[in-house]
């Protein structure tokens, strides 16, 4: 099995999960507490990657990040190369692809915090920002860890988006799932099996942790 591919995959998943933790919390907070009428539009956009074929998402990202788009040109003037077929491009694609897996459990656990606690915090003279860190976040910890673990696990196993915008460059964009595809194409079933088993094990352990964390009678879905 390709050790480089495994390291690359774990690095990618780690960065994506970390970015989604920081970027996902404010988005989830807004979704959970905003009373705007067009909130549903934002919710739909965040959830899009759940239903969109990865190739569709990958295609649009490729176009958006390529040398002919404004974003691509801006990046090129900055760094001298395009975002497409680079590790950075892969990170951006994976963040968008795993967004709902972080934001939805975050938002669900924020919304489950008793509104009376927020009112109580306000009457005690504590503002919204501090209330978030002193009340909302501590009480939503299982949901936040769930979102973190799900986005990590989901990034580990992605294939279509990676293939579309990352291509297949060893040590740069070649993740384990792409490696498995290559191995099967080359007829190396033994190596493919070892790599596949590893992904299966990591995914199973991650999901077991999530379910154990959210253990409730009758739970059928790790989201609250």
């Amino acid at each position: 099995m390709n050790g480089n591919a495994l390291l690359l995959t774990i690095r990618l998943a780690g960065i994506v999960a970390a970015v989604l933790l920081i970027a996902g919390l404010p988005i989830a907070y807004w979704i959970a507490f905003s009373r705007r009428r067009w909130k549903f539009l934002v919710e739909a956009i965040v959830a899009l990657p759940l239903v969109l074929p990865p190739t569709v998402l990958g295609f649009y990202l490729l176009v958006a990040l390529g040398s002919r788009s404004p974003v691509g040109r801006w990046w090129m003037s900055l760094t001298g190369h395009t975002l497409a077929f680079t590790f950075e491009g892969l990170v951006i694609g994976s963040i968008i692809y795993s967004l709902p897996f972080a934001v939805q459990p975050f938002a669900a656990s924020f919304a489950a915090v008793d509104p009376a606690l927020l009112a109580a915090s306000a009457t005690l003279g504590v503002g919204r920002w501090k209330t978030f860190f002193r009340v909302v976040l501590p009480l939503s910890l299982p949901g936040v860890i769930t979102g973190l673990a799900l986005s990590f696990a989901h990034t580990l196993g992605e294939f279509g988006v990676v293939l579309m915008i990352g291509g297949n460059i060893p040590s740069v964009t070649k993740t384990v799932s792409i490696d498995i595809y290559d191995l099967v194409q080359a007829g190396e079933y033994g190596s493919a099996n070892r790599a596949a088993l590893l992904l299966l094990a990591i995914s199973f352990v991650t999901l077991s942790l999530i379910y154990a964390l959210n253990r409730r009678v009758g739970a059928v879905w790790p989201f609250k």
């Binding site: 008793d114 009376a116 606690l117 009112a119 109580a120 915090s121 306000a122 009457t123 005690l124 003279g125 504590v126 503002g127 501090k130 002193r134 009340v135 501590p138 009480l139």
Partner: protein, 382 residues
Amino acid sequence: MPETLPNAGNSPSDANALSVAVCGLLGNPFALDVAFVAEPGITILFGPSGSGKTTLLNCVAGLAAPAAGRISAGERVLFDSTRQIDVPVARRGIGYVFQDLALFPHLSVGANVEYGLGSLAAAERRSRSQSLLESFHISHLRERKPGDISGGERQRVALARALVTDPCVLLLDEPLSGLDAPTRSHLLRDLHAWNDARRIPVLYVTHMREEVFALGERVLVLQAGRLLAHGSPYEVLEKPRHEAIAEFAGIENRFDGTVVALHEAQGTLTCRLTEAEEGRMVELEIPLAHRHPGMPVRVAIRAGDIMLATMPPQGISARNVLPGRLISLGRMDTTVIAQVDCGVRFEVHLTPAAEKALELRPGREVWLVIKTHSCHILRSGS
């Protein structure tokens, strides 16, 4: 909005008084229209559920927005629709004990009480919370979580948490609901002691009559978002003048009658109850009112104010002695509830000891004794 603000107390307006005038709610069709001044001390907001008691507290706290009005605590204006003033909740300095308490479940009792003291040094926080924990007798629970203590202890924590920040007004939303009688009276004693020392306006929401009498220096009666009556608990609830108050103040016997005779020299009038069954005439002598013979009158009599005798009583001052028959005996806590048919149905409350001493059985012949001044004339509507 009413033209004059009913002053809930008798003393002239205090420098710390809470003054409230609210009319309507933003984004809510509930027809709130209330104005009053609450002096330092406990003012009870009394009314049936859905009358707007909690909504009114939320307006004072800033958790609900009145469409129009003015709210001030002493000199500080908290809300004024004409001047576009709406002080945010976190800066109003109002203590609020919610109906479900809303203790932070992830924080210890000590951390809950210190929650509102974030800007102070740790030592100062500790000493202030300690003094509050001691005045409510819960300092031994400091390290425990709200989920590990009893309901009465949780109520004390919620009170201590609301008071530790030295609020200028205290709002209590049924803080004693769900507690047994001894726990309730201990908590009331501690709250009274605290309030005697501080003298800030306390708005105390309840729908329980007993609490009104145990606590209240004055009571405001709310119904469907409007102020129906105000005054001392005795004035408002013992001699209710409104049908609605008599109903939810728990006055069990209410009858329609017709005035048959006025006795102006005695200060009484005689009325005949119109609900009496065929062939039986039931007349009551009740306090004189501006009524003429033939006019309708509505009378309320508390079940606990009626005496029950097993022999025709003689030589007593009460003007109304009604013969009847005991229909049924029921029991609620330590109250025996007797239903008596005197031509109209009366409910009479007795003690278990009285029931035993009189050897009461359904079917037994009894006499009801009712003093003239136990009969209250009601105005219907508002």
